[in-house]
Symmetry: C2
């Protein structure tokens, strides 16, 4: 049952295309900022003596992966099996699929592993461990497993104090010919902290303590736990001591976004991702400038609404990426962005005639990126030096 009517492909671009010549809306990626963000995280983690496993769920791009990973073969973290398949095809060998495994996905995991990639899975229940063990027994492939441990009550994971469950999972896995590779945590609640380095460092320390407690529980039961994996952009950035941790994961820091800037884990001037838009109308009585970048191009993410500074649907910049003072995307419809000054702003609305081009910094790089199928990659001259595809879907 092939899909029908795929529709025409967008026209190819010439290298060195100026931003004025791009169709809007579209996604821009500043390669120099991306590289600087990666270099900063790598240097920080090298100082702390720990391996870095970049999370590729934000970028979903082999080109970005090759910049972010410490070797062309990994390590890397993925959020979908489609990413794992694409990256494996691109030569990545060391991956963890970071979403609790469903038994029905094990055949697809096995197929990726059979092509030579060391893809590990995560889980947090005896039921999943039994399914993985049974699959390993029948397939003969001793799939490596990390037990997901709950760092902070954010989402999934076994409580680090629940020794009985941790050990039961480890024993079922090893008895069933799967491989217990270690424990994995994600301190997602660190996202709720805002500009409080002490609290962010404390969140990183709590994540590490929970990880080490779980690893020690497994080891005390005679189970091996070679990998102790933690991470989130805020806790990676604010970790001060990672003794007992073998690797750190982080992803959104590569691009940065306004939400992470609100947390204090990236700087606005380091944000590498933006959406190019065109002015298509004005409502002067309301102080509105209408653009062609609505929520379809920016995403529906309103994460900054919960922070001290609500950035609407994004911060409005000129073509060089410099923010206009107090100018945000105040509201959005599907294909319309409503640009306006923040409430109480002292700045005047800039004069932006029909056809003017703007760049919008995103609230959430993962969500904004997902609305697009490619990056227009800016070179040092601010021109489009390359187009990198994204690996969307599952």
């Amino acid at each position: 049952m092939p899909t029908t009517h795929p529709g025409p492909e967008p026209r190819p671009l010439a290298a060195g295309t100026a931003l004025d010549a791009l169709e809007t809306p579209c996604l821009l990626l500043d390669e120099a900022r991306l590289r600087a963000n990666v270099a900063g995280m790598r240097a920080h983690l090298t100082r702390l003596g720990v391996a870095f496993r970049p999370h590729l769920k934000t970028a979903k791009s082999l080109d970005v992966a090759r910049i972010a990973m410490t070797t062309p073969e990994g390590p890397a973290m993925v959020s979908t099996l489609r990413e794992a398949e694409s990256f494996a095809e691109g030569g990545v060998r060391d991956m963890i699929y970071g979403v609790g495994i469903a038994p029905a996905k094990l055949d697809r995991v096995a197929a990726i592993r059979a092509r030579g990639a060391d893809l590990a899975v995560i889980l947090d229940s005896v039921a999943q461990a039994d399914a993985v063990a049974a699959h390993a027994r029948s397939s003969g492939d001793s799939v490596p497993v990390l037990i997901e441990v709950d760092a902070d009550g954010h989402r999934s994971g076994v409580a680090p104090t629940d020794t009985a469950t941790l050990v039961a999972i480890g024993q079922r896995l090893t008895a069933g010919h799967a491989t217990l590779r270690g424990v994995l945590l994600h301190a997602g609640d660190s996202y709720a902290i805002q500009h409080d380095p002490t609290a962010l460092t404390a969140a990183a320390e709590a994540e590490c303590r929970a990880a080490i407690m779980a690893a020690e529980a497994l080891r005390a039961a005679g189970l091996s736990c070679p990998v102790v994996s933690v991470g989130s952009t805020p806790t990676a950035r604010y970790a001060r001591d990672l003794a007992g941790i073998t690797e750190v994961r982080a992803g959104v820091f590569m691009f940065g976004d306004l939400f992470q800037a609100g947390v204090g884990s990236v700087a606005v001037e380091d944000i590498a991702l933006s959406v190019l838009a065109t002015v298509i109308g004005h409502q002067p009585a309301k102080g509105w400038i209408i653009t062609d970048a609505g929520w379809m191009a920016l995403s529906r993410d309103r994460g900054t609404a919960r922070q001290a500074v609500d950035q609407g649907y994004g911060v409005v910049c000129d073509l060089a990426g410099r923010p206009y003072r107090d100018l945000i995307v105040a509201d959005a419809n599907q294909e319309h962005g409503i640009v306006a000054l923040r409430r109480g702003a002292e700045a005047a609305l800039p004069d932006l005639p029909i056809g003017s081009r703007l760049r919008i910094l995103p609230n959430h790089a993962c969500a904004t990126g997902a609305q697009h199928d490619r990056y227009h990659v800016l070179d040092a001259q601010g021109r489009v030096g390359a187009v990198w595809p994204r690996i969307n879907g599952w």
Copy 2:
């Protein structure tokens, strides 16, 4: 500069595939509900004696377009030029591009028109009219234009009382060899009404009054205004008298969603779109069931948060599409949905072991659809009878 590493295509499906065999998360479309929703709107508008121009921004699918349109050639409304190109290639001849035209997009409009499609544009300023007129003069193609009129202060458009601007736009267009085809309005503020048929009918009447006022202003100045186009799903549904109106547009009603159910313009049991998910974990102490359909599959849309009934990230149903009592997606991360009972619910959490499959009804069909590249189309037996691609991007 070709794009690199497009990644492997998902594997094709056999016709008649059961829902248990699909990879999750993925998008399901109930064809019988879609056809019934279209038939209902058509019958309603036929009774009112007005033409129907379906808005294809929700579906972005030629297969759905062919069900929704009154003829294989249209009429239709599109939200991107990529939709216009794909539908033109599929034989659609009568289209309006429903986002205020940017001058830089006129070459692409002309190219679509040169291939035989009657594609019209909309605008709401003299500056745009001058750009369109200049393009028409130099290209020799008298591109048809509708003036966007502001029905309710929602977004774009000339005020219907602003006769001077309406007439100036009309005169600049006709003097410059473009074609003034009419006026177009969208009563977007009707979305803020909830279960108030009197208010919804009043919004429809106000939209019509504004349309007719603008059309009469043009005609009084000696300009032609053959098309008077109005529409939104709520006002289309609640219109009682459309004298003076030539066509009605609506789109989201085809699929329906929880937000429109909150407005009162569709019924929950008529919602044709859902996301198929798999249970991947439990946090019993918190009353959480974790699924693999996070905001990447559901979208970040939280439109129902502003309504009387907050549906979280969606209503949870069984495989047959029957809602579990009081069960919603209470929160979502990128690839994790957190399913829980509504606050204060009396129902018990259903027993849904690891691997169980669920269907999630979306808050906003346009946004949820956009997270996917295809529909898995359910036949009368609840099996996948076809796969229809979506036309995402710009």
